[in-house]
Structure formats: structure tokens, C-alpha cells
Amino acid sequence: MNQTGAVGAHNAKIMNRYALTKRVVDKLKREEAVIGGIGNANFDLWATGQRPQNFYMLGSMGLTIPIALGVALAQPKRHVLALEGDGSLLMQLGCLATVATLKPNNLTMIVWDNGIYQITGGQPTSSASNADLVAIARGCGLANAAWAADEDDFDRLVDAALQGGPSLIAARIDTQPAVATTDRDPVRIRMNFMEGIGVK
């Protein structure tokens, strides 16, 4: 399969979603909540180890960032991260405007952009040819929105994002499939997550 990448970051390095997910998770020392988006985003999150503070979204394509925003509003002292794909974000772009309006300082949005609807057969998304997701985020009013140039730059951006927010980090990634798949038990996933963030 061709590595279509993302048009918005034509000079950024193409990285690997699992490797970057692992880098993110390894930085989390304060029981930060992580919402993994539908498909490969949550599969690779699952593969990094099932932290109690992880929520794996099995349906509701496009709602990763809204779910993370809800958690962030309910628990303002906890940092919340959303891991979302390009196709999913394109389905619910309006959420970026809502986040920019509310300005939660405990929310980080990470977008994996491989320019394809990977799980449905690799059809191209508009981010492969014309839509720049970071430019869209900035246009919505998210000043802290940036492409990660390479792994070191990604680390730096995540470190900065964890100090405050809201921030959006986009990474151009390859078309490698996720390295594992998530158990499909929504109630168990929800209950584990709520226990993990101290609600039940």
C-alpha cells in the first residue's frame, strides 16, 4: 500500500502510530486519561498495555475529542488526551471549534494522519490531497496546533501539551496496521475507565 501521508505536513517525517502511541503513554505519570478513537487509534492504545485510565471507543466515529472534552470538563485537575485518526476527525471537525471556544487547559488532541480510511480498505481521505488538519485547527482558534516534524519533535510537543492546553498535535504516520485489537466489551471498558479515573 502506498504511504500517502498528509498534505499538510509534506516535509514531516512519516512515523509509526504504535511507536508514537508508546511514546505518549510512557510520558503519562499522573494518571492522565486517554481516549482512543475508533479503529486503529484505540487498537494501538490497547497494544501499549491496558492502563486503567484508557477508554477505547468502539463505535461513534468522530466522537473521540468530544468524549475527551467531556472528561476534561468533569475533571479539570486531570489531564485528558484524545488519540484520533484523520478520517474520524474530518467527520466531526466542528468539535475543534467547540474546544477552542471552551479552552480547557487540561486537554491534548493527537491526530494520526495517514491520509487514508485505513480500516475500511485504504480509501484516501481529503487530508491526503488538500485538507491540512493543523491549519483547520488553527482556523478554529486553536493556537497551539502543530505538525510533529519527527519523533523528537513529537516528544517535545507532547511534553509542552501536558503542561497546559488545549493543544493539538498532528503526526504523519505510515499505513502499518495496528499491532493488536481491543476486546469488544463496552460496559467493561466503561467501568474500568471510570474506576481508573476515580469515579466508581
Partner: protein, 176 residues
């Protein structure tokens, strides 16, 4: 908990939400809901804001519930028609007690054919999903239905839909 004779319908809704500690209010704007939305914005007990789509609000309310905060979504009939997928793939399977308030368009004097048609899809969808729903027509029943149903939603971990009839709210009439 509320006096239906001296309070307006939207004041009864505000009181029921407050009494049940429902703090997060998301909405997609609606003319009929406007006095309710204004009252919620005016009360610092609530965190009230508009979302760009009803689906988005479902995600936010779900996240807030998981984080320990009760939330509601205000919308009109056409907005409800945009959320069946996320009810079926997030709210219902994850057992989220989302509180859905729908201002009923499409009946009792509707002037827009599109609203009338989409209105007919709402109750069959709710019934197909097994989502508890109440059509509220009388102000003297409003407080009771809301208070009991919110408590039931939380106790049984199930969403509930309140369909606010034009008989309660006055609805929207032609040329307004």
C-alpha cells in the same frame, strides 16, 4: 420541589436539573428552547454551552458522565434525527444515563414539511433502541416526570428522552 402554577415550564426544568445535580448542559440552539437556554446560561450552577452538532454533544455528555458529572443535551426534533448512530454505538452499549431534551417540531401546527417528516422518525427510533421516552404535554406533570425519570436514568444506567410538546412550550408558529 416545584410549583407548576407560578413557575414557567423552563423554570421547572431548571429546578429539576439542579435538584438532581445535572451540571453540564449542552445544546444546539432552538427557538422554543430559548428561554430555557437563557435561564441555564444565567445560572452559574450550570456549565452551559452550544455544540456544533448534536452528535458532538452526545460525546461530551458521555465523557462528562464517565468523569463524574451528570449532563444533558437540548435539541429539536431534526437534531434528534442526527444521533441514532451514536446512541446505538456509544450511549446504549456503554450504559450512559444521558438526558435528552427534544423540543418537538413537526406536529400541532408545523409549517415546514421537512420538520413534519423527520418528526415521524423519532419515536420509532427511540422504541427500536429501547430508550425510555416521555412526551410531556402538561406543566403540572413536568416536574414529576423529570425528577423521577432523571433518578431512574442514573439508577438504571440508561438514557432517557423528554419530548417537550408544543402543548407544554407553545411550540413555534408560522412567520416567527
Amino acid at each position: 420541589m416545584s410549583d407548576s402554577k407560578t413557575q414557567a415550564w423552563y423554570e421547572i426544568v431548571v429546578a429539576a436539573l439542579k435538584a438532581n445535580d445535572v451540571k453540564l448542559i449542552t445544546y444546539v440552539p432552538d427557538r422554543v428552547m430559548t428561554p430555557l437556554i437563557q435561564a441555564l446560561h444565567a445560572d452559574s450552577f450550570f456549565t452551559t454551552f452550544a455544540t456544533t452538532r448534536e452528535e458532538e454533544a452526545i460525546g461530551i455528555v458521555t465523557g462528562a458522565w464517565m468523569g463524574g458529572m451528570r449532563g444533558a443535551l437540548l435539541m429539536q426534533t431534526s437534531g434528534f434525527a442526527t444521533i441514532p448512530n451514536v446512541l446505538a454505538s456509544l450511549v446504549c452499549p456503554c450504559q450512559i444515563p444521558a438526558l435528552l431534551f427534544v423540543s418537538e417540531r413537526g406536529t400541532l401546527g408545523e409549517f415546514n414539511l421537512g420538520q413534519a417528516m423527520v418528526c415521524r422518525t423519532m419515536r420509532p427510533v427511540l422504541d427500536a433502541l429501547g430508550v425510555e421516552n416521555h412526551t410531556i404535554t402538561r406543566q403540572d406533570e413536568l416536574g414529576f416526570i423529570l425528577d423521577r425519570s432523571i433518578k431512574q436514568a442514573v439508577a438504571t444506567l440508561a438514557p432517557v428522552t423528554f419530548i417537550l410538546s408544543p402543548l407544554l412550550t407553545g411550540g413555534k408558529v408560522f412567520a416567527q
